[in-house]
């Protein structure tokens, strides 16, 4: 949950850019990364995106937390793939087990790992430079179903409150030895989830009452988008086209 709290640098040109432009450009880059046949292109996209993240003053620790899961998965996928192929690169023979790494599998694994790194880095650059509500507004502009963006707004609004509640309950349970032994741990974690659901029910009732008093009729109004400025659009188009040329090469 720590990664949720990053405050974007408001003076950075990328942070000031319209969320719709950033999102469309990122989706184009993502398609290129995912459809890339080479190992190099996704790594170039990853390098540029990480550079952008660093200029956004994202701390290295935050980046490492963000990349820890995808990089682990990339490593597992590389390992899984490297056991298949026909040209042995390395082998280990013991009386009990034989392990062999094959060239074809290792190369395929590397390609997958580079795609994972590239894809995660591109999305991270958008995530670190754009507020979540701005991304939702941009997704709404891109015709994402209204229900999804509305539910996401409600969820985002109460996420931190519920996470804090969960933390408080968890700490109290731990202090009362609620996680000593498997049976007690199971019971405690079930109680924690039940308590969160009850809190969610109650909070939704309170929220609805206060929203109805302010004129809520079942639909959440999104702010009207301002026109996209050419000073935002053309640099993004240039970057996408440049990357498109690199992708084609």
């Amino acid at each position: 949950m720590k990664g949720l709290n990053f405050q974007k640098s408001s003076s950075h040109p990328l942070a000031l850019m319209d969320a719709r432009v950033k999102l469309v450009a990122a989706l184009c880059l993502l398609v290129m990364v995912v459809s890339s046949k080479s190992i190099l292109f996704p790594l170039v996209a990853a390098g540029l995106s990480l550079l952008l993240c660093l200029t956004l003053k994202v701390r290295l620790k935050t980046l490492l937390i963000r990349f820890s899961e995808p990089l682990f998965i990339a490593a597992v996928v590389m390992l899984l793939k490297s056991f298949s192929g026909s040209t042995p690169l390395w082998s280990l023979h013991t009386p009990f087990i034989d392990i062999a790494i094959y060239k074809e599998g290792a190369m395929e694994g590397l390609r997958l790992a580079s795609r994972i790194t590239g894809g995660v880095a591109v999305v991270a650059a958008v995530g670190f430079s754009t507020g979540f509500t701005d991304i939702l507004a941009a997704l709404s502009w891109l015709r994402m179903p209204r229900e999804i963006t509305e539910i996401a707004l409600f969820a985002w609004r109460y996420l931190f409150v519920l996470a804090d509640d969960a933390q408080v309950i968890h700490s109290a349970q731990k202090n009362r030895l609620g996680y000593v032994g498997i049976r007690r741990s199971f019971r405690s974690i079930g109680t924690l989830c039940g308590a969160l659901v009850i809190k969610a029910f109650d909070a939704s009732q309170t929220m609805t009452t206060s929203m109805v008093q302010r004129g809520y009729d079942g639909n959440m109004p999104f702010l009207k988008h301002r026109p996209i400025r050419s000073v935002e659009f053309f640099p993004a188009l240039f970057v996408v086209m440049l990357m498109g040329v690199l992708w084609a090469i």
Binding site: V76, I97, G119, W156, V197
Partner: protein
């Protein structure tokens, strides 16, 4: 011999269960697009169902939003798995599926996955369709089906919820393994890679499935004891039913 070797190696690396999210960039474009197409009808129908429900009750959308937040928190909850020596995360999709039905649960999963993809790099935008299918569609429908089936068969509320959580978790991971194997196999045959991925999931997922069952059962039991009115509102028990009778 090779199969035994692989099994030993894969048990040693024991993929952590937050791998329930298929990572960004892992699926080739045609496969990523295919899973979006598979997920789309469920998401669209879920949205229509939600719109219909919210016309009768204005509190439904805020409630669904908050349940999405709960699912998000549950699926970010690190839980130590002693058999694998790693931390894992439950899916949490059986809970909304039992409470408000599988289609709205797909919408809830979509929202939780979208937030995780955008702000935590758990899952991804290119793999959102695949993640919705494994966690949202398969997880929700399995949980809901098992719960309803067992309740019809006379199982208690807690027992039905336990197996709903257990099978929803295992079904999610089996689907994730199938999606991963079909997406990354390249020219290799499907079945051996699928087996390898399933073996990699086993050390974390077998105990985590049991934990997810306990978590779901604990949640439903607590609601039945403390707030039976909420379960009655969701149609899980009839008004006036006590916890013991349920």
């Amino acid at each position: 011999m090779t199969r035994t070797t692989l099994t030993i190696v894969l048990l040693a690396i024991a993929a952590p269960a937050h791998a329930m999210h298929i990572s960004e960039g892992i699926l080739p474009l045609p496969w990523a697009a295919l899973w979006f197409l598979v997920a789309a009808p469920f998401v669209i129908y879920g949205c229509r169902e939600l719109r219909r429900l919210s016309q009768d009750d204005l509190a439904i959308k805020p409630l669904v939003g908050l349940l999405a937040a709960v699912v998000f928190i549950i699926s970010c909850m690190p839980i130590p798995v002693p058999t694998a020596g790693t931390c894992s995360h439950p899916c949490g999709t059986a809970i909304p599926a039992i409470l408000i039905g599988p289609f709205v649960s797909v919408v809830i999963s979509t929202v939780a996955l979208l937030i995780q993809a955008l702000v935590m790099a758990h899952g991804g935008l290119s793999t959102l369709g695949a993640d919705i299918v494994s966690m949202g569609v398969v997880g929700s429908f399995t949980g809901y089906g098992v719960f309803k089936g067992l309740r019809r068969g006379g199982a208690s509320l807690g027992m039905a919820a336990f197996f709903a959580g257990l099978f929803a978790d295992w079904a999610t991971y089996a689907t994730t393994a199938a999606i991963l194997a079909s997406g990354i196999r390249g020219s290799d045959p499907f079945l051996p890679l699928f087996t390898k991925i399933v073996i990699a999931f086993v050390p974390t997922q077998l105990p985590l499935g049991i934990l997810e069952g306990a978590l779901t059962a604990g949640m439903v039991t607590l609601l039945a004891r403390k707030r039976p009115d909420l379960l009655a509102k969701m149609g899980l028990i009839t008004k006036g039913d006590s916890y013991e009778r349920a």
